[in-house]
Symmetry: none
Subunit: 91 residues, 4 copies
DNA sequence: GGCTTTGTAAATCGTC
DNA sequence: GACGATTTACAAAGCC
């Protein structure tokens, strides 16, 4: 079966487009991952610096983790409150 | 033993300083972790968007991973090359 | 190089042993995973039964999760206490 | 509106019952989850022990996973067979 | 039935 | 460089 000149062009265009789109996606992700790595390194630096100033890194991590937990818990409390209000027909 | 007025002030100053420094460290880390989370979410968004456009997310991740490996390998090759050049007194 | 009759037997014995040992490990793990699956199914049954008695499964899960969090938190509090005591040279 | 003495008792009884039932459900689930965790830990122990005997844990996991897949496939084959037998009126 | 959430596995990183 | 701890990726389960 023959393929018309038009459809060949279409195929090429479509193919090109797909390739460009994929490339764009990959590059966006790689760009973001680089930024993420930069920040991770910054965090490591802060811990390292703190350690240099006599802080116990493990304790610091514990503090950070607990504060995050507290935040999560507050969020959950709100969720529960909403659930109750919902159950009481107050929302 | 008595504590002089001066040392009380010193203690307070020292204590205040330690507290402020700790607070600063914690806040810097939390700030950075927030930024990191933002970027992680952005990455998820890109994958989600790609999925919406018909891409297979797992395959995309594989591509990203392979390209990272390739980059690492290239970097390693360069390291080896430099080592040789160094050994040959050409650097 | 020749291989004595004894070492052939040794090799076989060693090989057999290795094979049996590997088999034993695999079977122990598979046995445990079966048990684990049984329990998971039991848990699902309890939730299903509760649902049949008019309980809101999602709410039940929230209760279970919160109680677990509380337990974790208590455990962490103890960890922190120990850390402080350690720091104070009291352990 | 007034509430009769009888209905107060009923309410209390009902309330007590509901509370006890909920408590029973929660405790059953927590009990089962504990058992599940115990088994998970046992599995980890087996892997750890195997590692101590020179086995490669990742390879072991691969074996387990493949055998599970094979089992699933066998199960699927049986399902297909049953379907055929059913279709042929032989079940 | 897909889409999010949760649990598990793998990989990475810092430590000793 | 092996080990444990943390982070990240994958898989499974539950919910809509």
């Amino acid at each position: 079966m023959a393929t018309s000149a038009a459809s060949v062009l279409d195929d090429q265009a479509t193919h090109s487009f797909a390739k460009d789109q994929l490339k764009a996606i990959v590059e966006r992700i790689e760009r973001l991952e680089e930024e993420k790595k930069t920040i991770s390194d910054d965090i490591k630096d802060v811990y390292g610096e703190a350690k240099g100033n006599g802080y116990d890194v493990k304790a610091l991590r514990t503090i950070i983790r607990m504060r995050k937990q507290d935040a999560n818990e507050r969020a959950e409390q709100e969720t529960i409150l909403e659930t109750y209000l919902q159950a009481l027909g107050m929302l």
